[in-house]
């Protein structure tokens, strides 16, 4: 909503407040002023000039040389505008003038002709192209005759003004008019409101002799009023009105249309003017449109309607789509002489439906949608009639034809000072509260301990006691509400065990050298079925995506993490180590029948060098075992180390030889590995290692409570063995044989060497383990250890065909 400060001053006395102060008061009161637009900022030295003569430039077809009287002198000005003529009053930027955007006007010569200034278009004076009346769009602006030669053109155009741009919340449609904002200012300042004049003369005839109105669905149209104004002469509206419309962001058209728009802005009441002679009948019938009924709207588009839409008809065909747009054939034009003026109240939902379906939002439809003041319709109609009489020469016929189904009584809200104080935490006296209601022009009466408020039609947002509490609080001032702490029972705050564990996982991974990334949840179709943890029956798809890239919900975190590797690689950042913890979304085979399964997963992507110590010449490329080590540490961190196994994976997007599935007590919970070289090629990245784990499964597992083990008091005995096994034998399997065979005495096993090559036959490899034997209760004898150790060797021989390396 754009509010001209000068216009606002007509209805409420704010002379003692600057524009900035006015804006501040409104904002602090809850009507936010988003921006101030000074209309003439940077313009000076532009005056009204009189074009005494206008002759073709001797050396340029498209230029004219005009003699322009600016009051002090008459000087030549070269002008290229096609509409310049002798006898016009125009805006002249004199030498030394500055125009918006900082353009300076100097005395100059154009093809040998002296030019002492410039005749300006409205656009050159800072008015947006779309607000310039059609006749001046491609040329200079021409003032009406009343403009005084030599006077300030900026003032003449009412540009010495500032427009307040309001950012209105949906509960305040009452401020969608200048008068509404005046009410708000008056309440904030405790001042009066001055309504504009609506008195006009009356022609002898009654409007009832001309037209009749019938409303078929009163719920859609609780009030329809029509007036008739005869002997209209269509022409430009007065300068001041055009100026105000421009300030309000509306393009001037002609006096009839401008007047309906002016009253729309003034009262917030949409009005529509039909040419009664072209209306086609004397019967106005408001009804639902028939299915597939067609009408041509005044933008010359043919619209197909449904019976969800409300139309104004002449008894046969639609002449307007109620509250949205008029029809083409009944439009007011230059030859119109009799105007049928409609002032109605259409149901917000009806207008919203039509506006949405047709795709048109107009100043009128916006106001109907948000709810107009049903008590101000007749006054607005009289105001328009008065202006049509005054500025379009019309004769207003007596009376209004109307169909009125508005509720006869206003809603009441009962409250009390005790309740309001309890809700706000304040200590206001009843009189303070009553005085606030008086400022808001809410009629309130006291009945014992209660205050009963009569809600005016102007404020349909006031429905309940809490709405009154807000009115009291905002007028009293939110700053004056005390600061307290709740008096009730205190409760301990905490994170749930799962939330704590998630924080722990993040902390561990950060400490291990991975940056946390957050990527978008929405992804493209070709990213949405990649690197899945498990079979996904279906994706969750956005019904009307903004783009293909954001059309489906992710089923894996890895595609976007690989995008992250690629993004950084494209910027020469080759060493990337990132993880993300977030949700994936698992849909159903057919379309969704219930909310999708949201699963928390953890994923990581690591590429490039893992460790680089430049001056020491040490470098370590990321490999499988670095990433595996990070995961092993993670499992240890959350108490799962003893329950995790890694087995070779056959995930097709991973390197077949460098990938593993991760099991938690036999259940697959994720995978780890190098991305398949084909995948790396597809993403344009180099060797990259990834992992993805089901966090829900990790969190669901309760680790054993942590109890300490006695520190051994007796010495341990260590035996190192180097084994030769087939190269296909997995070290993990060999280790498992040792653990199983070692019995209770075997305290610890660790692999310390892996060797393949010289001194070994082809197809063989050597694995060296260190076995530590210990009995916490006593000193072990060599014999006991040897017995256990021999069993280990035997089992190794039997189970994995391992021999001791000679």
């Amino acid at each position: 909503m754009l509010v001209s400060y000068q216009w606002l001053k007509d209805y409420v006395d704010i002379k003692d407040l600057s524009v900035e102060e006015t804006a501040e008061r409104l904002t602090r009161g809850g009507v936010e002023v988003d921006m101030l637009h000074p209309r003439s900022e940077g313009i000076n030295n532009v005056v009204v000039g009189y074009v005494e003569s206008c002759e073709r430039h001797p050396d340029a077809d498209k230029l004219n040389v005009c003699q322009v009287n600016t009051g002090e002198q008459t000087a030549p000005i070269v002008c290229g505008a096609p509409n310049v003529k002798a006898g016009q009053k125009v805006a002249v930027a004199k030498p030394g003038a500055v125009l918006p955007g900082g353009m300076k006007i100097e005395k100059t010569e154009l093809r040998g002709q002296t030019s002492e200034g410039m005749i300006c278009s409205l656009q050159e004076l800072g008015i947006e192209q779309k607000l310039v009346a059609k006749e001046f769009m491609d040329g200079i602006y021409v003032f009406s005759d009343e403009a005084a030669i030599g006077s300030d053109a900026v003032a003449e155009l009412s540009l010495r003004d500032t427009v307040l741009e309001l950012d209105l919340t949906p509960n305040r449609p009452d401020c969608l008019s200048i008068l509404g904002v005046a009410y708000e200012m008056a309440a904030l300042l405790d001042r009066g409101v001055q309504h504009p004049s609506v008195t006009h003369g009356q022609a002898g005839e009654s409007v009832k002799d001309y037209i009749a109105v019938q409303v078929e669905t009163p719920n859609d149209n609780p009030y329809y009023g029509a007036k008739v104004i005869r002997n209209i002469s269509v022409g430009p509206s007065p300068q001041w009105m055009q100026n105000r419309l421009t300030a309000a962001g509306i393009r001037p058209i002609n006096n009839v249309v401008d007047i309906t728009n002016y009253v729309l802005m003034e009262y917030g009441q949409p009005l529509h003017a039909f040419d009664l002679d072209k209306f086609g009948s004397s019967d106005i019938v408001v009804r639902r449109a028939n299915a597939d009924e067609q009408m041509k709207t005044l933008d010359e588009e043919v619209r197909t309607l449904t019976n969800e839409h409300l139309v104004i008809t002449n008894g046969e065909e639609p002449v307007a789509l109620a509250g949205v747009m008029g029809g083409s054939f009944s439009e007011v034009q230059d030859d119109t002489t009799t105007v049928l003026l409609e002032a109605a109240y259409f149901q917000p939902t009806r207008v919203r439906k039509a506006s949405k379906d047709i795709g048109i939002r107009s100043e009128s439809s916006i106001r109907f949608e948000k709810g107009i003041d049903s008590g101000r319709i007749e006054e607005a109609a009289e105001r328009a009639a008065k202006l049509l009489e005054q500025y379009a020469g019309g004769d207003v016929l007596e009376g209004t034809v109307e169909v009125d189904h508005r509720p006869t009584e206003n809603p009441m809200i009962t409250t009390s000072s005790a309740q309001l104080n309890k809700l706000l935490g304040m200590d206001l006296k009843e009189d303070d509260i009553l005085s606030i209601f008086r400022r808001l022009r809410l009629e309130a009466r006291v009945d014992k301990n209660h205050i009963i408020v009569d809600v005016p039609t102007r404020r349909p947002d006031l429905e309940m006691e809490v709405d009154l509490a807000e009115e009291v609080a905002r007028l009293y001032g939110y700053d004056n509400i005390p600061t307290t702490l709740p008096a009730g029972t205190t409760t301990p705050g905490s994170l749930s065990p799962a939330q704590q564990k998630r924080r722990k996982i993040r902390r561990y991974l950060e400490g291990s050298g991975l940056h946390e990334a957050i990527t978008y949840t929405l992804t493209s179709s070709n990213r949405s079925n990649r690197f899945q943890l498990q079979d996904v029956p279906g994706t969750v798809d956005v019904s009307m995506p903004m783009s293909e890239d954001r059309s489906k919900m992710r089923t894996s975190l890895l595609p976007h993490l690989l995008d992250t590797v690629q993004y950084n690689r494209n910027r020469q950042l080759n060493d990337v180590a990132v993880f993300e913890l977030g949700s994936i979304f698992i849909g159903e085979k057919e379309s969704l029948s219930k909310q999708p399964h949201e699963k928390q997963v953890l994923a990581g992507a690591i590429a490039g060098m893992w460790d680089v110590q430049l001056w020491q010449g040490e470098k370590k490329k990321t490999d499988f075992f670095i990433v595996k080590g990070i995961l092993e540490g993670l499992f240890e961190e959350i108490g799962l180390a003893d329950h995790i196994q890694f087995h070779r994976s056959n995930h097709t997007e991973l390197h077949p030889g460098r990938s593993a599935d991760v099991y938690l007590d036999g259940q697959t919970i994720g995978f780890i590995g190098q991305t398949h070289p084909m995948v790396e090629k597809e993403w344009g990245i180099k060797e990259t290692y990834v992992f993805q784990l089901d966090v829900d499964a990790l969190l669901a597992f309760t680790a054993n409570a942590l109890f300490y083990e006695t520190i051994p008091r007796y010495p341990s005995i260590t035996r190192d063995i180097a084994l030769v096994v087939g190269e296909e034998v997995a070290a993990g399997d060999v280790q498992q044989v040792i653990i199983n065979a070692g019995g209770d005495l075997l305290h610890r096993v660790s692999l310390f060497d892996v060797y393949q090559g010289e001194n070994l036959s082809d197809g063989q490899k050597s694995l060296a383990f260190s076995l530590v034997y210990l009995d916490p209760e006593r000193t072990l004898t060599d014999e006991e250890v040897s017995k256990a150790h021999d069993n280990v060797l035997t089992q190794l021989q039997e189970q994995v065909n391992a021999s001791l390396r000679q």
Partner: protein, 344 residues
């Protein structure tokens, strides 16, 4: 003979003084104190002396020996110390060379902000509660006093996945769900962090995906002044004790009265600067008293209970805190950006 011993003593001391290595010093010891050394030699000739002189010479010989031994020990310690010093000197490093880098990752700035805010509210007695990102229309809108035709639905154009389900546009549905679980019994004190989605084109200040934290406090006799108290406590913990808050009337369908909460600008201390658009205040939160309809729909009796709710954008808090000027940085994951938050 005493003379001779004195001479030998002096000679030995001189040689000790000149010995510069452990080896040379050992030679001196052998030379003077060894079994074949001159002092032993002298003592051997003692038989020729009178009984009177013998103890004197013997005494002198012992004195000389002890004195030499003493000096030898001193010199030896000195030489060892010197040798150690030389060794240490040789072992010294350039301490200005960079140390071995311990690889550390960084917390995402949004996570850092979420956790900090969670912790402040945990300290104030709140629980952290989460909920689904794909919500039903009922919980995302209707239970929050936004019926089908409500004009405020325009404010948040959303991503629907079916006619009845959408990517949540706010985390408040978690509040409605939690209230239902409480079956009409307070207190409910929760903060709900999470991802939310709106149909916005991504640019420097808009993101179709962002993080929100909303809070709810429902109990008997909760007043608007309590809302002010809790939010002031939060703002001062997060931004600093020297900051103050200002409430402005606003509108949210699920609260009434509704407020926008501004915090005094920390850059200019309220004088006005570019960051606060010359107002001295920065908008950080939306809040209000829970609308009776919302309480009722979630099973709470508005006659008995009242409450307040608040919500904030995590990106906005992170942008203010770290001076970040483009919201897209949070989701681009440029290593040069992430790397800066190791101490966040």
């Amino acid at each position: 003979m005493i003379e001779r011993l004195k001479e030998l003593g002096d000679e030995a001391l001189q040689e000790i003084k000149e010995a510069n290595t452990v080896k040379a010093l050992e030679d001196v010891r052998v030379k003077y104190l060894g079994k074949k050394g001159p002092i032993t030699e002298v003592l051997r000739g003692m038989g020729k002396l009178s009984a009177e002189e013998r103890p004197k010479v013997g005494q002198k010989a012992n004195d000389v020996r002890e004195h030499i031994q003493e000096k030898l020990d001193e010199k030896s310690a000195e030489l060892e110390k010197k040798a150690l010093e030389e060794k240490l000197q040789a072992e010294s490093v350039d301490v200005t060379l960079p140390g071995k880098e311990i690889k550390r990752g960084a917390r995402h700035p949004l996570t850092a902000v979420v956790e900090e805010i969670e912790d402040i509210f945990i300290g104030l007695g709140f629980q952290v509660t989460e909920g689904p990102e794909v919500e039903t229309d009922y919980y995302n809108f209707e239970a929050l006093n936004l019926p089908q035709e409500h004009p405020a639905r325009d404010m948040q154009d959303s991503f629907y996945v079916t006619t009845d389900m959408l990517l949540r546009t706010q985390t408040s549905p978690v509040q409605a769900r939690t209230m239902e679980k409480h079956e009409g019994k307070g207190p409910v004190k929760i903060v709900c962090p999470g991802k939310v989605y709106r149909r916005d084109d991504d640019d420097a200040t808009h993101s179709h995906q962002f993080l929100q934290i909303e809070g709810l406090y429902v109990d008997h006799n909760i007043r608007m002044s309590d809302l002010k108290g809790i939010l002031e406590a939060f703002v001062q913990k997060y931004f600093g004790v020297d900051r103050s808050i200002r409430l402005r009337p606003s509108f949210f369908p699920f609260t009434e009265p509704s407020v926008e909460v501004d915090v005094s600008c920390g850059i200019c201390k309220g004088e006005g600067c570019r960051i606060c658009k010359h107002t001295g205040w920065i908008e950080v939160l939306g809040a209000g008293m829970v609308h009776p309809h919302v309480l009722e729909m979630s099973g709470f009796d508005p006659e008995e209970y009242s409450g307040f709710a608040f919500g904030m954008g995590v990106e906005r808090f992170a942008m203010l805190k770290y001076g970040i000027d483009d919201i897209r940085h949070f989701y681009t994951n440029d290593i040069r950006f992430l790397d800066q938050f190791k101490r966040a």
